[in-house]
Amino acid sequence: MSLRSPLGRALGHGASATGAEHWWQQRVTAVALALLGLWLVVALLGLELGNRAALLAWIGRPLNAALLAVLILTAARHSLLGTRVVVEDYVHGIAKVPLLMALQFLHVIFAAVGVVAVLQIAIGGR
């Protein structure tokens, strides 16, 4: 029998104190994306996708540009959380950590490029 207290044995193992963060962020971004995703789909269905000028005018409105930028950031966050779990579940050995790192890099890069494109349209007068 160990003389260590149950608390002493539990501390320092796994995701103590931060384990709920992943789960909670997944839910918060899920709710946000359900709303933002439906907004974008309805908006896109109402737009003429072949007409660049009309699309630029639509994205150029502050509310649309802001929501698009938030959608991109939220989608990247949600996607990173999800694909991270997939890698953690199925990839073992030497490839796991580089793959997790690559996932984070890719998500940050695509999110940054997407947001800059929206800002160029909205602010840069494209």
């Binding site: 269905l45 694909t83 490029v113 929206v118 160029q120 840069g124």
Partner: protein, 130 residues
Amino acid sequence: MAAGKRPLSPHLQIYRPQWTTVLSIAHRFTGLALALSFPLLVYWLVALASGDAAYATALGWFGAWPVKLVLFAASFAFFYHLANGIRHLAWDTGRGFELSQAYASGIAVVIAAVLLTLLSWAFWLTGGGS
């Protein structure tokens, strides 16, 4: 006992696929598909910001049949992941775990995803937006 020689419990291929299990793994697959489709949304925005010639090139790509099929699949993945995600959020409140309820909500999710996908494309292809 060495880690590789431990007896295993009956594995996935033993079990008959059921609505609940298939829809569960489908949530993960559609999520992955959406992650892979995210660069398409970014590319579309970049092309829009880059000028008329770049956007014309992008339209050429998006109009090609293989890409159209990918977009169709991505739209289904979106609606499925959306509907099943709402099902998951409902489960998070502790409700709907009876087997009959899980089957009913699963079938509702599939019907909603198929209908929303087909209605969106029908609306778009008949020129609803323009």
